[in-house]
């Protein structure tokens, strides 16, 4: 298709293919309004359900501006109601759909996608039946931190917030009185607010590992903020988009070159920033053993870090728990030692473990201390493709 055709195409004129890029939006006005940038993702998910491409969809059921709970639903209306980006909902969907044998479509930030792919490698998710709608992701925030940030930095009441967006490096909150309040993310993060630590050094900004990658980067001109930029990255992605067009749920057009270039530039800048953060957080240290022992001494053995880890697919019986008994008096528990090693090649740095640790151990930082050198040396990035985890592949020849 030619770049000059800025008009809306009908279903018959377009045959979606892997590698193509579009800008699109929902045909439903309310979804478009509530959507993060045009409601395309929501409409695509709803169309997949309605046209029986899938049996179920994962959505975030919104509780308030700062809270939502992921659920699996087969109700098209529930899907349509879920439109909108919640930057203060740092959930991960991989474990939710694991071991359920679903034919499912779901939105997915980079870390969701990586978790899902890793679960796929471990046969806990059938990737052929999973339609992954990737979302570009500049980062998510912990809701408790966000509320405090609103009060301390923005001097606004969390209850007065109506919406929020990220633009040109600024985090902007809109209050119910229609006013906008903006502060640069750099300033927020310097003061300990802003994105979760793992998001700061996360380097997957456009999830090309999903079936289709969606975001607002690259949407220019009048459409900015009102449309979603999509890149089709697999056959399944093409099917999803085509299905939504055919069902009359979305409209698309070709992006302009400026948009494509801008998107790629922002991606580069964000990745660079991620690398900078990584160097800042992971400074070399002496006496690693004492550092780990000290960080872990408050562990109360709740097991949440394992339960929530999107790449771990061990059930109740697993190496880390079988070698561990609460009556052991080791200076550092076997549970953690086994997990650090077991996840060295698989940790995707999603930050879930640190989020849920009841004694605030900066777990992701600890896991990444093991994972960074291993994954760099082995040139292996878990969750980015279907390569098996290197440690997994070290099998005896028979």
């Amino acid at each position: 298709m030619s770049q000059d055709s800025q008009t809306i195409k009908t279903a018959h004129q377009i045959v979606m293919q892997k590698g193509e890029m579009y800008v699109g939006w929902s045909t439903k006005e309310d979804v478009r309004k509530r959507g993060g940038s045009g409601g395309l993702v929501t409409s695509m998910l709803a169309a997949a359900l309605e046209k029986k491409l899938v049996d179920a969809v994962v959505v975030l059921k919104k509780m308030n501006e700062f809270e939502a709970v992921p659920i699996i639903t087969s109700d098209v209306n529930e899907v349509l109601n879920s439109a909108g980006s919640l930057h203060s909902v740092p959930s991960n969907f991989a474990k939710l759909i694991a071991n359920r044998n679903l034919k499912v479509a779901l939105p997915a930030k980079g870390c969701d996608v990586r978790g899902i792919i890793e679960q796929g490698k471990r046969n806990a998710i059938n990737l052929d039946n999973t339609f992954i709608v990737g979302l570009n992701c500049g980062g998510s925030m912990h809701p408790v931190v966000t509320r405090e940030m609103l009060e301390v930095m923005y001097k606004i009441k969390p209850e007065d917030v109506h919406g929020e967006e990220i633009e040109k490096g600024k985090l902007i909150f809109e209050t119910k009185d229609g006013k906008e309040h903006a502060i640069t993310i750099d300033e927020l993060e310097e003061k300990g607010y802003g994105r979760r630590e793992s998001c700061r050094y996360c380097t997957i900004k456009i999830p090309n590992n999903a079936d289709i990658a969606c975001g607002n980067w690259g949407v220019t001109g009048d459409l900015a903020g009102k449309a979603t930029f999509v890149e089709i990255t697999s056959e399944k992605g093409a099917k999803l988009l085509q299905n939504a067009i055919d069902a009359g749920y979305i409209q698309v057009q070709k992006p302009d070159e400026k948009g494509v270039a801008a998107r790629s530039k922002i991606k580069g800048v964000m990745e660079g920033l991620g690398k900078k953060w990584k160097d800042k957080v992971f400074v070399p240290m002496d006496n690693r053993l004492e550092y780990f022992r000290k960080e872990l001494e408050n562990c109360i053995d709740c097991g949440a870090c394992k339960a929530v880890c999107p790449t771990c697919s061990c059930g109740d019986v697993s190496k880390c728990t079988e070698f561990h008994f609460r009556g052991d008096a080791y200076r550092m528990s076997m549970y953690h030692l086994v997990r650090f090693l077991h996840l060295a090649d698989s940790c995707i740095g999603c930050g879930q473990c640190a989020d849920v640790c009841p004694v605030d151990i900066p777990l992701t930082r600890l896991y990444r201390r093991f994972a960074n050198p291993v994954q760099e040396q082995l040139k292996y990035e878990p969750g980015m493709d279907m390569r098996k985890p290197p440690f997994f592949e070290a099998k005896l020849e028979v």
Partner: protein, 471 residues
């Protein structure tokens, strides 16, 4: 897929979470919950195990909740004068108010307020906001936060980061404490008006110990806060302030004496608190609850209603924070209505709860103001145990709920291991009142001659049991 925004019943910390139902139960982290930022302790993570479905039963025969409630009503009226009503604080404020109407002849919230001065009632009932823990300069712990109220740990660590000094008065050194004082050396404790004392208050608390903590705080002008073990302990106590209550100790005595023959329990498993010899003296044990427990297996009548997470209603956490449960269920109130011979309307009970708290709406982000009036001087006579070796039971959520945990061992120190020539990986014999048990042990920085356990072994006599130990 149903998802409920709810509160963990494991203790009165008030940790928010989601429970999802889809054939099985699983949980998710409610990260915006102000009490816990979505984080859960070992018990919170075990909730799918706690919420075992329960069926309505009369003498072992399955029936409907309505029939079970009618049968309960018959038995209660037949044993008029010898009925006691127990609700420990595991249910909503609205049910607490309905329950009070039913329980006029013999209300027991499981606390022993009788043994304590009247003017400490509210100090014991409502704690301080957790942000005040984080802002304290000096914190004195009379609990093991890791075992007993785990979500306190992060508040303590946050206080420490801001420069607080933490003193622990406990049988074991705690990793987060800057100073560890053994309970017997309490005279070494230095309190000032900048100190915050954290202790706990529960059905098995030693009244003299509670008085001693209150008096230490009073004499130094220090702040004091008591943590409590049930999801709505604060609500149950605050709302029962002006009601005529019997103490828990009295209830046990009355069952033993035979003056209480029928015990009605609302969302409370008496088998975790009352010795089985005592319980077996009852003619009627009636339990109304939302999940199965050891108690429901023993009860003559079980009235099954929704589990807590499916209920509608209000809980009040240890800070006094009102928290709305995310369910819609009110069949607990319906059953209470059948027993009381009336109909309880949720809305009017809810209004009464708001009125009692002086609030317009339940908002988990706002803590209502509570009176915690100054109390008078207290004489305390806490006695250190006399026996050479003692087994100390460290009450924790698993024990209050009778839920099994990976804790079949005792903690003791290296001196004890050496003195008894215990073998690594081996066991220890513990003798008390003629029975002997054999347990694995864990070496920990525990006081000499003390064994700590977070489990119930069946040989205990209260929280401190004199024992003899050998290899």
């Amino acid at each position: 897929m149903n998802a409920y925004s709810t509160i963990c019943p494991g203790c009165n910390f008030g940790c928010g979470l989601y429970i999802r139902e889809n054939g099985t139960i699983d949980l998710d982290f409610r990260k915006s919950s102000p009490a816990n930022a979505g984080k859960l302790c070992r018990f919170g993570m075990s909730l799918p195990r706690l919420y075992k479905p329960v069926k309505s039963m009369v003498e072992g025969k399955e029936t409907t909740p309505e029939e079970a409630a009618k049968e309960a009503a018959r038995r209660i009226s037949a044993s008029k004068g010898s009925v006691a009503f127990l609700s420990l604080g595991n249910t909503t404020c609205e049910e607490v108010l309905a329950f009070q109407k039913l329980a006029v002849p013999y209300l027991c919230t499981g606390a022993n307020f009788d043994a304590l001065p009247k003017d400490v009632y509210l100090t014991l009932s409502v704690g301080i906001p957790y942000t005040e823990i984080e802002a304290a300069k000096h914190i004195v712990l009379f609990i093991d936060p890791y075992e007993q109220y785990p979500l306190t740990v992060r508040r303590l660590l946050s206080a420490k980061k801001k420069g607080a000094k933490i003193t622990s008065v406990w049988w074991k050194d705690l990793p987060l404490a800057d100073e560890n004082i053994r309970p017997a050396d309490i005279s070494k404790l230095q309190l000032t008006k900048d100190s915050l004392v954290i202790s706990d208050f529960h059905p098995l608390s030693d009244a003299e110990q509670v008085k001693s903590v209150l008096s230490l705080a009073k004499n130094a002008g220090a702040k004091v806060t008591f943590l409590k073990p049930f999801a709505n302990s604060t609500g149950a106590y605050v709302l029962s302030k002006d009601a005529k209550q019997k103490s828990f100790a009295q209830l046990v005595e009355d069952i033993n004496k035979g003056t209480v023959k029928t015990l009605f329990c609302l969302e409370s498993d008496p088998s975790t608190l009352i010795p089985s010899e005592t319980l077996s003296k009852l003619t009627n044990l009636i339990i109304q609850t939302g999940h199965a427990s050891a108690g429901t297996a023993k009860a003559n009548v079980v009235i099954a209603h929704e589990p807590l997470y499916r209920k509608k209603g209000t809980l009040i956490n240890n800070e006094g924070r009102g928290q709305a449960l995310g369910g819609a269920g009110t069949n607990g109130l319906e059953a209470l209505g059948i027993i009381a011979g009336t109909k309880f309307e949720f809305d009017s009970l809810h209004d009464a709860v708001k009125k009692a708290l002086g609030i317009q709406a339940v908002d988990e982000f706002l803590i209502p103001k509570y009176d915690r009036p100054a109390y008078g001087a207290i004489q305390a006579a806490a006695k250190p145990p006399e026996a050479k070796t003692t087994l100390v039971s460290v009450y924790n959520p698993f024990m209050w709920f009778g839920l099994p945990d990976d804790n079949d061992f005792v903690e003791l120190n290296l001196n004890t291991v050496r003195a008894l020539k215990l073998l690594k990986g081996g066991t220890l014999k513990i003798k008390s009142n003629g029975s002997t048990i054999e347990k694995k042990f864990k070496v920990a920085p525990v006081q000499d001659n003390i064994l700590l356990t977070g489990n119930r072994f069946g040989i205990e006599k209260g929280s401190i049991t004199p024992v003899e130990i050998s290899r």
